[in-house]
Symmetry: C3
Subunit: 201 residues, 3 copies
């Protein structure tokens, strides 16, 4: 397993924040059975953008990147506004919401599991942190939007996709595959499994 304190490059965190912000805002803007106004849409965008990263760092007992980095919140807010704007431009957004959800899960999961390994978590602990990071933003989103938690009531295979992707990452690191290769493989695998889960279930 890789040793030493590996730092996740900030730009990868920012890609995750941007993907999450767009996903959350699109998701919230698409809820038609309840009135959620413009600020509510942005707030749910921020929840998805910040949630997984925040829960990961809290569980790892670290000062969260969302607090220490000036860029994280800026990117998350800009992405949430972009997601809100996209909703009014695009006619059908279900496919985009689903695709972005898969991407969010893959990227946050891979960052979470690698950061946990870097901070000395065991293999199973790292898988757990990866899953928390992957699904955390979505769980908080559903709680804030007052909807059933999707990983329990809608698509439970989603959580399994996150678990399998995080396990792959930990296994690859254990056989000394560099994190720069293992991370993307894990993120893509999680996202593909998540997309397959939608089509299966």
């Amino acid at each position: 397993m890789t040793s030493g304190l590996f730092h996740v490059p900030l730009w990868i965190e920012l890609v995750a924040a941007a993907t999450g912000g767009i996903q959350g805002a699109l998701f919230a803007a698409g809820i038609r059975d309840r009135r959620i106004d413009v600020l509510g849409v942005v707030a749910i965008g921020l929840t998805v953008a910040l949630g997984g990263s925040l829960m990961r760092d809290v569980v790892l007992d670290q000062l969260p990147v969302v607090v220490s980095s000036e860029w994280y919140l800026l990117v998350a807010a800009a992405a949430s506004l972009l997601g809100m704007a996209l909703q009014s431009v695009l006619t059908r957004t279900e496919w985009l919401i689903s695709l972005l959800d898969a991407a969010v899960m893959g990227i946050f999961g891979a960052i979470g599991a690698s950061k946990a390994v870097a901070y000395g978590a065991g293999s199973l602990g790292a898988v757990l942190v990866g899953v928390v990071a992957a699904v955390g933003g979505g769980v908080l989103r559903d709680l804030m939007a007052n909807r059933p938690i999707s990983i329990i009531h809608v698509g439970t295979l989603n959580a399994a996709a996150a678990g399998i992707g995080a396990s792959m990452l930990v296994l690859l690191l254990r056989i000394d595959v560099p994190v720069g290769i293992a991370g993307p493989i894990s993120a893509v695998a999680t996202a593909l499994l998540r997309i397959a889960a939608v089509h299966l279930g």
Copy 2:
């Protein structure tokens, strides 16, 4: 910006705890569409009194004041009992619940943003911590009471009030206004914006 480790005086934390406890208990006692018994009312009072402070310290990666201070829990419990008692004395409490909610948001927000600055958060990070502290107790209250999250579904301007108030505080600290002046200005501004938001929305 002020440097060095600024400690929020305990009495300010206790004022926040007391305000939150009364607010939460009054709010819970006022819910008529569900049966919440006496202990449930006190539990929701404690949730509001402890929630914002607890979430702030967890996000700042510190041992929470609610755990380290013997006084915090005592004051929170006494205030929750007082809130429950007030409900049975007053005939109409909506205005008081609203006023206390504004005060909770202002005080917790100002404490949160100043403490974040003191612990080395950047400007945007400090605003984020201020907002989490300001709205955290209310979000937990709504989750525990099984109601739609009010900052998303009822009054989204509330969260904006917290954001504006926390930003003012961080800006004032940056131009070297002492925290003893900047804090109260920020708390009052947040509370006034929150009250204005009720009348506007």
Copy 3:
């Protein structure tokens, strides 16, 4: 009060994890008014098994045992699967769910309060951590399962049982009763009070 850094033996944590996993899975499998599939049942089992322990360590500002120990997650997962299997074998599980809930509350509460004392929390702080650990898994379970929070809406005496049990533990430690004796007394007292609460309320 006992001084020095007392470590909760891992096997006690694992007993708590196992009890929680079985309880959560049985509880989720017994929900008939909503479709929760096999993976959802396991996810809720894991939520109860991990929740109290995770919230306790987050509040105590420590790297969670659920992340640092390889065994915790294994036992929690195995117990969740066992709980799911038991549901299909037993005809009536309400009594078992209730009994396990009492046990979960007693064990997690005693571990939480003792660990808080060991990490320097004051007496009231330790009671608070004990209550958070005792009821945390159940609160997260209800949130994930999209049901009213049971300690607020169903049995508020449950939270009181946890508070009384944790207070007993802190008092016993303060009069120098060894934690190996005070812990079990507190756990049994909490569980008995919780069972009595069911029969009273």
